[in-house]
């Protein structure tokens, strides 16, 4: 695990479904499994909800990497939502390829509620990979994005 004081710590957005992957992150937490902290997690009810617009907007606003996660295929809380996630993910990949974004900045992983260890492993691997790639092509917009967020309040 690279400490947070590394030369470049990427900004990663993680989309996680409520039933599996978010709970998997929780399992990692309550089990006190250490992993790198350079991500912001956005919980959605189902990975099928993660439409290309979410991911594109994350990159547009300066994310260096985006991780889409959900229940393992066959285990979806809504039966087939993660199959829709697969379709949506294919679109994101295809569009970002044309746009010229490095393929590895976007990843899809299935993480169950029990897989705390796996959650930590995926986060560490992905963080290292994105760190190796360096800042994303639109990282320069992040300061503006953060200023907007600060100006309008965090909602908490």
């Amino acid at each position: 695990m690279t400490p947070p004081s590394a030369a470049f710590n990427p900004h990663i957005v993680v989309f996680a479904c409520n039933w599996c992957s978010y709970a998997g992150a929780d399992t990692a937490g309550v089990s006190r499994i250490a992993h790198q902290p350079h991500f912001r997690m956005i919980r959605v009810m189902c990975s099928g909800r993660i439409q290309p617009g979410f991911v594109f907007r994350a990159f547009e606003n300066g994310a260096d990497g985006v991780l889409v996660s959900g229940c393992h295929l066959g285990d979806c809380h809504y039966v087939s939502g993660n199959e829709r996630a697969v379709e949506q993910f294919a679109k994101m990949k295809a569009v970002l390829k044309i746009l010229g974004m490095e393929e590895e900045r976007l990843r899809l992983e299935w993480i169950s509620a029990a897989e705390g260890v796996r959650f930590a492993k995926v986060i560490d691997e992905f963080t290292d990979r994105v760190r190796a790639l360096g800042p994303g092509p639109f990282a320069g917009t992040r300061a503006a994005t953060e200023a907007v967020l600060a100006g309008t309040g965090s909602g908490s």
């Binding site: 439409q51 290309p52 617009g53 979410f54 594109f56 547009e60 295809a94 569009v95 639109f138």
Partner: protein, 402 residues
């Protein structure tokens, strides 16, 4: 939200000739949304702009609902430029009120803005293939490919093949002896950002694209997209530095080179083997006044008969989704009605000259309950022309047409 800022509103009202409005209501009577029961009134919007009533202008998403198809403007006896008014109002009010609830989750706007920021090397020329002759950087003619590759990658559920139309366009240009520049560094023309009020994002793209084409040395720009053409021909005007290229829709290019391509004007046949009907894209038709070129091409194709829909040319209904700014059940109704109209002509194919028409009509055709009633094959004019030339390769064979 009211109060200050009425001065720019007044200026917009003046520039769009809203002051000439005499409240006759023809705009609302002809508005495609109003006609299918959607609560939308161009007339009330014009009056609200005149009164400086910002709240009324944006209430109920009013500002975003307009299709900007230009039909009301066509009918207006006082020549109020309603479409221009809507575009400028969206720019003016974007910051304080109207963050559009973009269809497709805002994906397309995000893609455009990312292109505008640059910093990536696009992989957008995969469609060209080995058999087409193109240049990468400089040449006399620039083929403006638009977002065809993006649309094919994004709208996979509609069995789109917009890049087939691009390929057909370049193949026809090759046949006419032109190897056009097709650039990997082309970016979205910015049409949809402009029409969603994001003038800043639009300007970024406009400047890049104008520079790119200027650097290519091209004197002519040809595109298959009606929206790109409108944007280049009208909205890019403030950004041209040096010589302005001649800008053509691919149908105009084909019509101009009919002889070299082996097409005989009027050489098509009434009672031909295949009946097709033509959808006038709003940007190509009402916005740019290009009605004849696509028809000339279709009329020149052998064994093909063009039958017009009741609402055609300046009266044509649009695809109801041109600017990615709004989509609702009224848009769907407009599309379904239009497809029924196309089917009623007895045509086996709906031919068009803009990718957006294909995307939106193909979406409507996905309705599982209506599919059989409204389903119709869609093609771009250039695809049909290339296909016909493939089947009738030599000019001599056209002599046998009835």
């Amino acid at each position: 939200m009211s109060g200050n800022g009425s001065a720019p509103l007044a200026a917009l009202a003046r520039d769009s000739r809203s002051w000439a409005c005499y409240d006759c209501g023809k705009c609302t009577a002809t508005c495609p949304i109003a006609r299918v029961g959607g609560h939308y009134s161009p007339r009330r919007q014009v009056l609200a702009a005149l009164a400086g009533d910002r709240e009324a202008l944006v209430a109920g998403d009013a500002l975003l609902k307009c299709l900007t198809c230009g039909l009301c403007q066509e009918r207006c006896p006082a020549q109020v430029a309603y479409t221009d008014l809507v575009r400028e109002l969206r720019v003016l009010m974007r910051k304080d009120v109207a963050e559009p609830e973009c269809p497709h989750g805002g994906s397309l706007q995000s893609i455009m803005r990312m292109m505008g920021r640059g910093g990536t090397t696009q992989d957008r020329l995969g469609w060209i293939g080995p058999d087409l002759r193109t240049e990468r950087t400089t040449g006399a003619v620039f083929y403006w490919a638009g977002c065809a590759a993006y649309y094919d990658a994004f709208f996979t559920e509609y069995e789109l093949a917009i890049t087939d139309a691009s390929r057909a366009a370049v193949a026809l240009m090759n046949r006419a002896g032109v190897a056009p520049v097709v650039s990997a560094d082309e970016r979205c023309c910015g049409h949809d950002l402009l029409w969603n009020g994001d003038h800043e994002g639009f300007e970024r793209l406009a400047k890049h694209n104008v520079d790119l084409v200027a650097a290519s040395g091209a004197e002519t720009l040809v595109t298959s997209c009606a929206e790109c053409l409108r944007t280049w021909a009208i909205d890019y005007r403030p950004y041209f530095g040096g010589k302005v290229p001649r800008m053509l829709h691919v149908t105009q290019f084909i019509a101009e080179h009919a002889g070299e391509l082996g097409l005989t004007p009027g050489g098509g046949s009434a009672g031909g083997a295949r009946r097709v009907t033509y959808q006038d894209p709003c940007r190509l038709a009402r916005h740019l006044g290009i009605y004849e070129a696509p028809r000339e091409v279709l009329h020149a194709l052998p064994q093909l008969e063009l039958v017009e829909m009741g609402k055609s040319r300046a009266s044509a209904t649009c695809c109801a989704g041109g600017t990615w700014s709004y989509c609702d059940r009224y848009a769907k109704k407009i599309q379904v009605d239009r497809l029924r109209e196309a089917r009623a002509t007895g045509a086996e194919m709906l031919v068009t000259a803009c990718p957006k028409c294909q995307i939106h009509f193909r979406c409507a055709m996905k309705d599982p309950r209506l599919g059989d009633d409204i389903g119709i094959v869609m093609r771009d004019v250039a695809q049909l022309a290339l296909e016909a030339l493939g089947r009738f390769p030599t000019p001599a064979s056209t002599a046998t047409r009835g």
